[in-house]
Symmetry: C2
Subunit: 202 residues, 2 copies
């Protein structure tokens, strides 16, 4: 039970809204979105189910911002990296992989829901999500093409290699444990080493 008291006048507060969103995120990650009821969320926060509607109109209102947050984290970093064309494609690829791996490891709840619950988005949000993912993938893809053009990377099917490396980084959400043997940086370094050797020209 949270220690913060409900306001006597029953009005919505930003602090309470934050608790609702945090509880929803945790439950979506643990049980899955569809299996989490509004009642579960209300109980986790210690308020009545009816009070939830002071903050949100529907359960999807708790899911969509998680997607925006996840995509924002991933995209803002790679945009900076992709734009830094003074850096070599090898350097940009290392930094993009590092950003992706550490984003997943350090925001495991948000990224787990993002990577697991895409089917639950309504059509409009799903289309937005697809566009954002494609923009993200296109930036990775361009780094690979730049590396081939510069002679740093070998000839390859850049689309398949791009999908393979993004998949490898995404899948961290299933096996990364914050209390595990290695820090996110160390895991990133191991995966970067494999990928860079995998694409570099010989």
């Amino acid at each position: 039970m949270p220690e913060i008291q409900e306001r006597q006048d029953g009005l919505a507060t930003p602090a309470r809204e934050g608790q609702v969103r945090a509880a929803a995120l945790r439950l979506f990650k643990e049980k899955g979105y569809h299996a989490t009821s509004m009642r579960d969320i209300a109980e986790a926060v210690g308020i009545n189910k009816g009070s939830l509607y002071s903050y949100i109109k529907s359960k999807e209102d708790l899911l969509v911002p998680v997607f925006d947050q996840a995509q924002g984290m991933l995209t803002s970093q790679i945009e900076q990296i992709a734009a830094d064309t003074a850096a070599s494609p090898t350097e940009r690829l290392k930094r993009a992989l590092h950003a992706h791996v550490t984003a997943v490891a350090e925001n495991l709840d948000v990224l787990t829901v993002y990577l697991s619950e895409w089917r639950q988005l309504a059509a409009e949000s799903l289309a937005t999500n697809r566009d954002q993912r494609e923009r993200y993938a296109a930036m990775f893809h361009q780094i690979l093409r730049d590396g081939i053009a510069s002679g740093e990377f070998r000839e390859m099917d850049t689309r398949i290699v791009m999908l393979g490396m993004i998949g490898m980084c995404n899948y961290l959400f299933r096996w990364y444990r914050p209390d595990g043997r290695l820090a996110p940086d160390q895991i990133a370094d191991e995966l970067i080493e494999m990928v860079i050797r995998g694409v570099q020209a010989t």
Copy 2:
């Protein structure tokens, strides 16, 4: 609607059971396990919801065999590959990656449900699934260690590299399309090339 008629005597038939399981698999893949109701499954087959209970006791009875089937596909192949120690570690790793990629691509419905719906298993089935996944991972892991011992592969954190490559292959379920540009064999070859270069000794 399926063309096969319901038996006039209303008795369960193996053909009808197959239809029930196929419809459930398709719906689990499209909508997710939790979002699929027994009514949805009955309607997809064109029978009454009550008739489903001639074949199964609960919705989970439709999910657990999908997990067994997926894990069986993956494990039976890698067991043979891992046991063939006359083949070099490089050769075994290529074959293991090829088997995994083509298993996902050629059994997309089964593997999508397997890789998406693990949270929905009850505790006992979940523990079995975890054991099977660990056995699977251990066989991959051993191939990497054999390759280091033989001098074919570089020194690396074999556990992270193993998790990275299995994740890369698993994640195919999110982006592979049967009507896409490349056949499963071609996709496997691209990913194998990247991984083998990524681990080989220089």
